[in-house]
């Protein structure tokens, strides 16, 4: 109990402290210490409660009151913000939900008691671990990153205190979301993450940043409205506000309405099509923000909610709708990623696609698919945050974050290139986690006869392979080894990157254990049916064997290299090489620089066209869902 409260409140305290400290060194230290303690706290909490879990009831009225007050303050802020920036939708959304919640809180809440406000089960444990560990690593990373960031971008006003305190505030809110069983509390934390996201996207205060931040706010507030509506609907009709109670109910047509609303809220938070534009815009934020909020944790809140709702979604047509939406998101975002060359854009599209995949798995709602979904959250969080922060560092090392220029990275910082490759491998290669989950997902979907989704998966995976492999290709090609623009990676940056890289590998080795001790019990409990690991033991052995080979082969190659020294010749340039592998004698006899660029295939995968098409498609799917609901067919 205490531990959980500390976990919730400690980051809040740190946030406050950071906000007050103005000294740079002291603040950095504070962030580091705060992050380490948060991580330790996470471990402690998980250590204490992992085995049996815990359910806490809290009937403290004051908490609700505080929440209401804070909510009103936030609403006031947002409404004025909306008016000032002439985005009245923001004001309307904010006003709507707050007013509705207030009316509900004071008018209709009588008689609704929340038995257990906090539930800590195996899924919560996993989420807390992901948030706590990845989150604190990114906070440490941010210390190093922000220093470089402001060295590179003198034009931006330095607001580091603000930045770090928001980061910690966000961690606290995230813990809140995954721990809350009370929908009101969850909603509150949900709104706080929205606000944090808004504030962090707008960090640089440029026109673009402000606009994108507002866009993110609009869409997430829209999700918030849906969330609020769902809460009120549930509260009025079922007289409960507990998530755990909700998912025990029989999925009938009426229940599907709040479930659908909650799904919409989840889809907006997870930036699924057609609500995805905010996440792409959010990439203007400093990289730690993108890593923490927009890949590893905040967007996971949405899929977390869907995972929680899975038992209700699985057998129903609302579930099918959500699955289809996720499928389209997965496919089109994977395709669109091909046409991108900005590393963060690629990561953003890939995040969208992977969230889509998680949505598919979660909403398919079978034990196996849920197994895949939860594992995907873990693997994705680790790999993607590794990629984000290594891209952030790479940007500082080579001057920009265009994938085309990543071929310099091997010359500038071997280590960074290597870690980035691990991250990429983690995203799509065989023995690594993402692929394992994808595999299980496929199997689960076949078993649940979701043929269309399986086919979408097959196409999407192929596209995924293309854009990751071409990025990897840029990393392994060594251009201009004489590049002397060498920066030392600060320890603040290197340490989290290294740890995350190891986590990627370790998570692949240990997923059978995770499955054995966390997923199987959790799924057994949820479905009241014994869950088994969905992969054959022999396959796991083979996969671990592959993973070991991947680690051992480079090492075993060292003696080969030592014994086999070869004559180096210039590369083939049709006989016109000038001798330095960089230039050739071109037309008019002048030296021409050779350039090697990746393919983007705009005509096939151009983002503009596909975005429009897929948005239309997804909107149609959602409208279909609404029609189904209204028709009562759900």
């Amino acid at each position: 109990m205490v531990a959980i409260n500390v976990l919730l409140l400690f980051p809040l305290a740190v946030a406050l402290a950071i906000f007050l400290v103005k000294n740079d060194a002291a603040r950095s230290m504070l962030v580091r210490i705060g992050a380490v303690i948060t991580a330790l706290l996470t471990l402690v909490v998980v250590g204490i409660f992992f085995k049996d879990g815990i359910r806490l009831s809290s009937s403290i009225e004051e908490i609700d009151l505080i929440i209401v007050v804070v909510e009103v303050i936030i609403a006031a802020y947002i409404i004025t913000l909306g008016i000032r920036s002439k985005r009245y939708v923001i004001s309307i959304f904010s006003f709507l939900q707050t007013a509705a919640m207030l009316v509900f809180e004071f008018g209709f809440k009588e008689g609704i008691t929340v038995e257990t406000a906090i539930v800590f089960d195996k899924l919560t444990a996993i989420m807390i671990l992901v948030i706590g560990l990845v989150g604190s690593l990114i906070c440490i990373y941010a210390v190093g990153y922000m220093k470089d960031y402001h060295n590179h971008h003198k034009e931006y006003k330095e607001r580091k205190s603000f930045f770090f305190s928001i980061l910690f505030l966000f961690l606290s809110a995230m813990f809140g979301i995954v721990l809350s069983n009370n929908l009101m509390w969850m909603y509150f934390c949900w709104e706080i993450t929205t606000l944090c996201s808004f504030l962090l996207i707008g960090y640089t205060q440029t026109e673009e940043a402000k606009n994108n931040a507002l866009k993110a706010l609009v869409i997430n507030l829209g999700g918030g409205v849906a969330f609020a509506a769902a809460i009120i609907f549930i509260g009025m009709n079922y007289h409960t506000l507990e998530l755990s109670v909700l998912i025990q109910m029989k999925p009938d047509a009426v229940l599907m309405i709040p479930v659908f609303l909650l799904s919409i809220a989840a889809l907006t938070k997870s930036a699924q099509l057609p609500f995805s534009s905010w996440l792409l815009g959010a990439m203007v934020a400093p990289t730690p923000t993108s890593a923490l909020l927009h890949s590893a944790t905040m967007v996971k809140a949405g899929v977390y909610l869907i995972i929680r709702l899975a038992p209700l979604l699985g057998p129903t047509s609302v579930g099918r709708i959500v699955t289809l939406g996720g499928g389209v998101t997965f496919l089109t975002c994977s395709l669109m990623a091909i046409s991108q060359s900005d590393a963060k854009k690629i990561l953003a599209y890939s995040t969208l696609a992977n969230l889509g995949l998680i949505v598919i798995c979660a909403s398919a709602g079978t034990q196996e698919s849920l197994w895949a979904a939860i594992l995907l959250i873990i693997f994705h969080a680790v790999s993607k945050s590794l990629l984000f922060i290594s891209v952030g560092s790479a940007e500082h090392q080579i001057g920009n974050r265009n994938v085309e220029n990543m071929d310099l990275l091997m010359g500038v910082s071997r280590k960074l290139a290597f870690y980035m490759m691990i991250g990429i491998a983690g995203m799509f290669l065989a023995p690594f986690g993402m692929l394992v989950s994808k595999w299980v997902a496929m199997k689960a979907l076949i078993d649940s006869k979701n043929v269309i989704i399986v086919i979408i998966l097959a196409y999407g995976s192929a596209a995924t392979l293309f854009y990751w492999a071409k990025w990897m290709g840029k990393l392994v090609s060594k251009v201009n080894m004489g590049h002397k623009n060498h920066h030392e990676l600060s320890l603040d940056e290197e340490l989290p990157i290294t740890i995350l890289a190891f986590l990627v590998v370790i998570s692949c080795f240990t997923f059978p254990l995770v499955s054995r001790f966390a997923l199987e019990p959790y799924l057994t409990e949820v479905y009241k049916k014994t869950a088994l690991i969905p992969i054959e033991t022999s396959d796991i052995k083979l996969m671990l064997c592959m993973l070991s080979m991947l680690i051992l082969l480079p090492i075993s190659f060292i003696p080969v290299y030592k014994n086999d020294k070869r004559r180096k010749v210039p590369i083939y340039m049709a006989g016109e090489n000038t001798g330095d592998n960089q230039t050739f004698y071109g037309a008019m006899g002048v030296k021409q620089k050779v350039e090697m660029r990746n393919w983007y295939m705009e005509e096939f995968f151009g983002a503009d066209k596909l975005t429009f098409l897929s948005n239309v498609l997804c909107t149609a799917i959602l409208v279909m869902g609404i029609i189904l609901l209204i028709g009562g067919l759900a």
Partner: protein, 285 residues
């Protein structure tokens, strides 16, 4: 699976693959009205390559072809010992990706273009190969080849569309015209020798051997469609493999190399039509 079996697979597979390649070259020559090389020519080539000096353009690129070979061999082992077909395909993809990375690592224009094209090819055939595995799972309720080939009815009965789609994309895997964009067996291509342009000597020999393994892997995919519990069906399956191979040779010799746009589009459309329709029908029963 014991050690002897593993060693036997590792040694015999390239021998058979090499012979098939030799057979391919003779048949191709005869189709063109030529005499053609001796049957053992592929082995002579590899032998020669191992005898030659190996040169390199940088220290990185050779590593990848060896890793690629290891994973392709690994795939062969999984497949021929009756393992999980989906895992085998994933391992094969890993091998292919390493091969592509080798091309990138050479950091030379034609290799890089070759790598891009190879990636495109992987992207083109991957959905169909995955759907093949999925189809087999649908038909026989198992991903394990040993289960699939001990079914009572051959999978081809359930999966004619998937099979045709597979034969279509095998052209990519066997590097045959019209889909030999990234690296043609015939030297006269606009990107020289694609990914392999910078490789020479032993590295090139490794690539050749890798291709032999890949030929066998491709044909194994055909094989599982025909083999059943009855021993006679295995004979049919072998014949089917040879016929498919012959068919691919004829296709190779009677079509122009298409451009990537068409390769991608046609492969995805064929996958979409053949695979999807077949699976949809199957899922309703």
């Amino acid at each position: 699976m014991n050690l002897i079996k593993i060693i036997a697979i590792i040694i015999l597979t390239p021998l058979v693959g090499g012979l098939l390649t030799g057979f391919d070259r003779i048949i191709s020559a005869r189709l063109q009205g030529r005499q053609g090389p001796p049957l053992l020519q592929p082995f002579y080539d590899v032998l020669k390559l191992t005898e030659k000096e190996s040169i390199e353009v940088n220290s990185m690129h050779r590593f990848f072809v060896y890793v690629s070979l290891v994973f392709v061999v690994f795939t062969t082992l999984i497949m021929l010992s009756g393992g999980d077909i989906l895992l085998a395909i994933f391992a094969l993809t890993l091998g292919s990706v390493f091969f592509v990375l080798g091309g990138y690592a050479s950091n030379s224009p034609y290799n890089t273009i070759g790598s891009e094209r190879e990636l495109l090819q992987i992207m083109s055939y991957e959905p169909m190969v995955l759907l093949t595995c999925i189809g087999l799972y649908y038909a026989q309720k198992s991903f394990f080849i040993k289960d699939i080939i001990s079914a009572t009815k051959p999978s081809i009965i359930y999966l004619p569309g998937v099979f045709l789609g597979l034969v279509f994309v095998l052209t990519f895997k066997l590097r045959k015209s019209p889909f030999d964009l990234s690296m043609s067996h015939h030297g006269h291509q606009e990107i020289v020798k694609g990914i392999t342009t910078e490789y020479s000597g032993k590295d090139l020999a490794v690539i050749e051997v890798t291709h032999w393994y890949e030929v066998i892997i491709s044909l194994t995919l055909v094989y599982v469609f025909f083999a059943t519990v009855s021993p006679i069906s295995h004979v049919f399956a072998v014949i089917a493999c040879l016929l498919v191979y012959l068919f691919e040779i004829i296709i190779d010799n009677s079509s122009a190399r298409v451009k990537w746009q068409h390769a991608l589009r046609s492969a995805w459309v064929v996958t979409g039509v053949m695979g999807t329709v077949n699976l949809l029908i199957l899922s309703f029963f």
